[in-house]
Amino acid sequence: MTLLHRLTGAPPGMTPRALMLRFSAIGALLAGTAGAFAAAGGWLSPSALTPARIVDRFEQVNGPHPGFRRNHAKGLCVTGTFAGNGAGAALSRAGVFAAGRVTPVEGRVALAGGQPYAADAATTVRSLALRFRLPDREEWRTGMNALPVFPVRTPEAFFEQLLAAKPDPATGKPDPERMKAFFATHPESAKAAGLIKARTITEGFADSTFRSLNAFRFVAADGRATPVRWALVPERPAARETAAQAARTDKNYLFDNLVAQLRQEPLHWRLVVTIGRAVDATADATLPWPSDRESVDVGTLTLVGATPEEAGNCRDVNFDPLVLPDGIAPSDDPLLSARSAAYARSFTRRAGEATSPSAVAATADRGDAR
C-alpha cells in the first residue's frame, strides 16, 4: 500500500497506477471548473473593457470626488408627478400611461461631467433623471439628456472619448489633436458632434428638452412591441441663452434659476414618444431618427419643487436605465446594458464613501435663508 492509498482511503486492491490516474482526473476536473469560473469572470482577458474600468477612467479624468456620482456629479433633486393622458396605453401596458393615472415622480437635474463643484456653464450638457413610482413596487427609472443624439455608439467608444476629451491642464480644454484622432476612428461620433454643436442652447433647465437618446421597446397588452425613443418637451417656450446670462458670475446659476422658477410655479413638460420604423436604428444612439416619424404625446410631467441632495433623496438613487416597469423593455442598443453596468459600479463605490455636501446645496440653503 502506498502513502496515497493511506491518505485517500483507497481499497488495497486498487493498483497505484489506477489510483494515480483517478486522483489526477479528479484534480483536472476541479482545475477545469476553477479555470472556467476564472474565464467567466474575465480574469483571463484583462484587456477587455469592464464596468470597473469605465468608472476608473471617470476617476482618472475628474480626480477623486468620494461620495459623488462619477458622472453628472453636480445635481439637484426635484419632485413632481406624471399624469398619463391614455394615448400611451395602446403602445405600452405599463400602468403609468393609463388615462388619468397620476404617478408620483422624483428626479434629479444635473450637469454632465464628473466635477461636483464645477461652475455652471451654458454648453455643459444638462440632464434630467426620473424615477416614476408605479403601484406594486414597480418603477420606471430614466436618465435623459438635453442633446439631439448621444455622442458615441458603443461603450468602447465612450471609454476612448472620455480620455480624448480630458481637458489639458495647460489650456483647460481638450487637446484638439486627440479629439481629431478619436473622430477619425469614430466617424459616427464626428457626425453626432456636429449635431450636438448645432443644437439650440436654451436659457436653463426649465426650457430644455430632455431626450432618452437610447431606443427602447414599448410592449402593449397584446405583446406587440414598438421601437420608441422619448423626449420631455417643455411647455415653457424655449428662450435662447443671452450673452448677459452666459457671463453670469453665480457658479450655480442654472440650478439657482430652476429653484427660483419652481418657487413661483410648477413647471410642465410633455412626454412625447417617437415611434421608430423598421429601418430606424435602435442600436445606434448617434443617429437621429427622421423628423417625419409619428410621435405621440402620452402625458404631462409636472415638477413642483426642488431640494438639495441629501441622505435618502435623489442623491441615493441609481437612475439605472434598465429599471423598467412591465410594458417597457430595452432595445438592442449596446449602451443600455453598459450604462446599467457602469451606473451600478459607480453607485456601489459612492454608496460606500462618506459624502460631502453638494455645491448646489450650499446655494439653495442660502436662498432659503434670504
Binding site: T8, G9, A10, P11, M14, L19, R22, F23, A25, I26, L29, L30, T33, A34, A36, F37, A40, G41, G42, A48, L49, T50, P51, A52, I54, D136, R137, E138, E139, P155, A311, G312, D316, V317, N318, D320, L322, V323, P325, D326, P330, P334, L336, S337, A338, S340, A341, A342, A344, F347, T348, R349, R350, A351, G352
Partner: protein, 184 residues
C-alpha cells in the same frame, strides 16, 4: 430498522437540480459584474434564479429534516466526518444566505427587486447606502466562498466515488450503481 443507503428520489432531484442552478448562478454572477454587453440580460436572469434557489433551499432543508440522509461509512476517519458535517452546514447556510443577502442588498440600495414581468419583491431592509455597499461586498465574498466549497464538495464526492468506493457517492448518484442496488 435498517438505514437506507441512498437519498430518496425527492432528495436526489433537489440536489441535482440545485447543483445545476447554483453553479449556473455563480457563473452568471461572476460574468455579470465584469460584463458591459450582457450585464442587463445576466441581471435579469440572476434575480429570478436567486429567488428559485432560495425557495428550493427552504424546501430541501424541510425535506432533510423529515428524511435524514444515510449515515457516512463507519470507517471514515473522524476528521473527514467532521469536515463533511461542517461543509454541509456551510453549504446549506450559503444556499440560504446568498439569495437573502442579494435581496437585502438591493433593498438597502433602494433598487427594485424585479423578478419577472410585473413581479417586484418587497424590500426587506430600510434604505441605507452604506449598508448596501457592505452587503454588496459580502455578497461577492460569500459567492467566492460558496464556489470554493462546491469545488471541495465535488472533489470529496469524486474521491468517495472513484477512489474510496464506499457508497457515499452512490447514495446521491442520479443513477443506481450495481453496488448500491445490491444493498436495497
Amino acid at each position: 430498522m435498517t438505514h437506507p443507503t441512498r437519498f430518496n428520489l425527492p432528495a436526489r432531484l433537489l440536489h441535482w437540480s440545485m447543483a445545476v442552478l447554483i453553479l449556473a448562478m455563480l457563473f452568471i454572477g461572476v460574468a455579470m459584474v465584469g460584463s458591459l454587453a450582457d450585464y442587463g440580460t445576466l441581471v435579469a436572469l440572476h434575480r429570478p434564479l436567486g429567488l428559485l434557489i432560495l425557495l428550493l433551499a427552504i424546501l430541501r432543508l424541510a425535506h432533510r429534516w423529515h428524511r435524514p440522509p444515510p449515515p457516512l461509512p463507519t470507517d471514515l476517519p473522524l476528521w473527514q466526518r467532521r469536515a463533511a458535517h461542517a461543509s454541509h452546514i456551510a453549504l446549506y447556510g450559503l444556499m440560504l444566505a446568498m439569495p437573502l443577502v442579494g435581496w437585502a442588498m438591493l433593498s438597502a440600495g433602494r433598487i427594485p427587486v424585479a423578478v419577472v414581468g410585473p413581479l417586484v419583491l418587497p424590500p426587506i431592509l430600510p434604505q441605507n447606502p452604506m449598508l448596501y455597499a457592505w452587503l454588496r461586498e459580502l455578497h461577492t465574498t460569500l459567492a467566492y466562498g460558496l464556489f470554493g466549497l462546491i469545488l471541495a464538495h465535488l472533489g470529496a464526492a469524486l474521491l468517495h466515488g472513484l477512489i474510496r468506493q464506499d457508497g457515499v457517492f452512490s447514495s446521491m448518484a442520479p443513477w443506481r450503481s450495481r453496488r448500491s442496488a445490491g444493498s436495497f
